[in-house]
């Protein structure tokens, strides 16, 4: 019993360097800049008072959002500008905690204002934003760190590992539940699901040859391959030796999905969760390598 408690404590609360968390934060901040810019063409049609949904709908007990309180186009523009600015702040680590909170509020509020305009990728970004808002994501590789002391910028202070663990567990949950849901369907069992998914014209992105999308054999391979990779990611990602292989397979799977299907930011959101599995020592080494490569270049310029 005691060892289980120790294991639980170690899993969630053991201090670790914040280099991995910094990579996650920077990647997420950059994606959020893109996500917010992506709202620009649909800002008034989707969220404006004279758009496709004039008022925020009631979609469930406890649901709330800033655009349900502050209505009108001025509020939409203000929230857009605020979300964009704080996304930049999050990426560079300026007033990081506050920036992460505002980014989360922006995501939540736009998604609540018109829930019919968003997909699973947006929900994933919202959840990541919440976890980062709760964490000390600006502890390293940030302007916040620089403000505390230039000479200690390249250090990675120790913090409890639970924010990174939350992101890692979230990745497992996504794959576990998607496999669970798929195995209840007929086409995922008879191996034809991917063929249908590739031929739904309204979500097609780049073309897939008919020889692949209508082939029974290719569909069987892709359907069962998808299930195997997703199940592998849900479970084997926790095995240190298997992790690089399942994450590599996951990257290929998501790139293939992103090539063929319009899924917005889902792939990029998943890749942020993948980053949470980069070991601290690898993240630290990577960051310091970049620093060392930049230093001679700066000296040469000087």
């Amino acid at each position: 019993m005691r060892s289980a408690a120790d294991g639980w404590r170690k899993f969630w609360f053991e201090p670790e360097p914040t280099s991995t968390l910094a990579l996650v934060r920077i990647a997420f901040g950059m994606i959020m800049v893109g996500w917010t810019i992506g709202l620009l063409p649909v800002l008034f049609p989707m969220f404006g008072a004279q758009g496709v949904l004039p008022r925020q709908p009631a979609i469930g007990h406890g649901t709330w959002g800033l655009l349900g309180v502050f209505t009108g186009n001025a509020a939409v523009v203000a929230l857009f500008a605020l979300t964009l600015a704080t996304s930049v702040c999050l990426a560079v680590g300026y007033r990081t905690r506050l920036a992460a909170i505002v980014v989360f509020l922006g995501l939540l509020s736009f998604e609540r204002r018109n829930p019919y305009a968003f997909d699973s990728g947006d929900a994933l970004l919202r959840i990541i934003a919440l976890y980062l808002a709760l964490s000390g994501a600006g502890a390293s590789l940030s302007l916040d760190r620089l403000r505390r002391g230039r000479e200690r910028f390249w250090e990675f202070p120790l913090l409890a590992r639970w924010p990174v663990r939350l992101l890692q567990v979230q990745l497992s949950l996504v794959y576990l539940f998607t496999v669970w849901a798929k195995t209840r369907g007929t086409s995922w069992n008879d191996g034809t699901a991917v063929s249908y998914a590739l031929r739904v014209k309204d979500v097609n992105r780049f073309p897939v040859p008919d020889a692949i999308s209508t082939s029974v054999l290719a569909s069987n391979v892709m359907t069962y391959g998808t299930l195997a990779i997703e199940l592998g990611l849900a479970v084997l990602v926790w095995n240190r030796r298997a992790r690089p292989w399942v994450l590599g397979a996951g990257v290929l799977l998501h790139l293939a999905i992103s090539y063929s299907i319009r899924i917005g930011f889902f792939t990029l959101g998943m890749f942020v969760l993948y980053l949470a599995f980069v070991p601290n020592e690898t993240a630290t080494r990577l960051i310091l390598t970049v620093r060392d490569r930049l230093r001679p270049a700066r000296t040469a310029v000087a």
Binding site: P41, V52, G60, K182, T214
Partner: protein, 161 residues
Amino acid sequence: MTLASAVVANLPQSRLRRDALTVARPYLNATGLDQSWGVFAPEPRRESIALRARVRFADGSTAVWRPPAGDALFGNYWDYHWQKWQEWVLDENHTQLWKPAAVFIARGRDRPGRHPVRVTLVRLTSRLNPPGHHPAHDRTVATPYYSLRITRAMLESGGRQ
């Protein structure tokens, strides 16, 4: 609490899920942790769908509206909002979206001297045949499913009518 709620939200439809969600749902909704990962599950769609709107003007002329779409490379990062909205507007269980959609479309086509007087929403569907069958798609069927007479008041006040 957070993880337990996420697990509950993703359980299969069951008595356990219903009961647990009555407790967990407000927490999930309030924190933004509500989630569902049934992407293309339990079944991918067996048909391609598209929304079109026929706009008739006071002078008797007509026009066809379609949701905006960008290119495949970068357009994917903004036009998926239109694609998702289109799926809901085409859904017979979300009739509350039809009137504001029709009014929005009418407003976008309203010009001095050329006012829309009716908008008809049309569902285009093309059934997908199982892999290995020819043709891969059935022909596209157009089904008008909602029609709204547009008034001046609607054009002036958006979807608030």
